[in-house]
Symmetry: C2
Subunit: 193 residues, 2 copies
């Protein structure tokens, strides 16, 4: 087996394992040693590649943001009119909750951390703004149906949509007991009449 391809970049292994640790144990419960052990790497290598803890975690957030923006963009691009776009967005988060809840947990956890750590705050702001800009474009691309909403800025409406999806998703995750599925996230679609 090829030596070069077998061992992929150590820094990427660390980054990937840091992502996994954070999304399965939570920000406050992950140490540098956890990640090093999980990656099968000497502890000092984390500092070698990423300088310090915040440097590593910052890269994890970048990774997360990229994944969200990319996936949501794809989801919105694959549907036609406004109504369907929002529906597909809701569908995306619904599937996220079921198939990849750790990614959503990571989002929620870093959002909370962003209230205290300035660098995280800048990043999470980027994520929320990126998402709402996508939604805003979706709203403008189709015909806005609800007259009451039309007279408000579509920017605010987009923030309401992503906010509702976010806040509702959290409640679903809190309520869910591994087996039952709760579906009130679908109601978000009702926001646009």
């Amino acid at each position: 087996m090829d030596r070069k391809t077998e061992k992929m970049n150590q820094s990427q292994i660390i980054l990937q394992k840091a992502f996994e640790c954070l999304s399965t144990k939570g920000y406050a419960n992950v140490s540098m040693r956890d990640i090093a052990n999980e990656a099968g790497v000497a502890l000092s290598q984390l500092n070698y590649h990423y300088k310090n803890k915040e440097g590593l975690f910052t890269e994890v957030v970048k990774m997360m943001i990229y994944q969200y923006l990319q996936e949501v963009e794809y989801e919105l691009k694959s549907t036609a009119n406004t109504k369907e776009k929002v529906a597909s967005l809701v569908k995306y988060f619904n599937e996220l909750i079921r198939k990849n809840p750790n990614l959503l947990k990571l989002f929620i956890d870093f959002t909370a951390q962003s209230l205290w750590v300035p660098s995280f705050r800048r990043q999470l702001r980027r994520l929320f703004n990126g998402l709402s800009i996508m939604i805003e474009k979706s709203l403008l691309s189709g015909t806005v149906i609800n007259k009451n909403l039309q007279e408000d800025s579509s920017k605010s409406l987009a923030k309401l949509v992503i906010g509702a999806i976010y806040g509702t998703s959290i409640q679903i995750m809190l309520d869910s007991e591994e087996d039952n599925d709760l579906e009130y996230l679908n109601l978000v679609e009702m926001i646009l009449k």
Copy 2:
């Protein structure tokens, strides 16, 4: 000066200072020593009164939950019809962001923690459910206007409302720069037509 009244219950001082520390520095950045110093009390007293860290923080969450449920209930009780009730709820969170943002940060922070700590999860579930039940009652008390929403369970609708308020409030806190005020939280009222 009366000796008895001057020194109030030490356990309550600790609890109050723990609340303050958590809401100003964040869950992940507060230590038992921080709280002990802030309360002007020996470190060991925190364990004496609350057994351990989780025990103390649990009481802080209880305190927070009580405050939210009480204030929101008062807010909803003081208005008449459904539309006004939701509006007053939005107003309450709007004022919270401006006058007592730390209480909101505490909410957000503990919500994230609840994804990892079972005891917190149970409590936060209680808070979200408590809030949505209040809203649900408000919805039932008045006449439901939007026909599309009427046919869905009012329980889900209530969760959507509180979710939208929660998710939008987070974005406002992220965007706000100490000076400017953002007002897209008001859009939440539009959910009910």
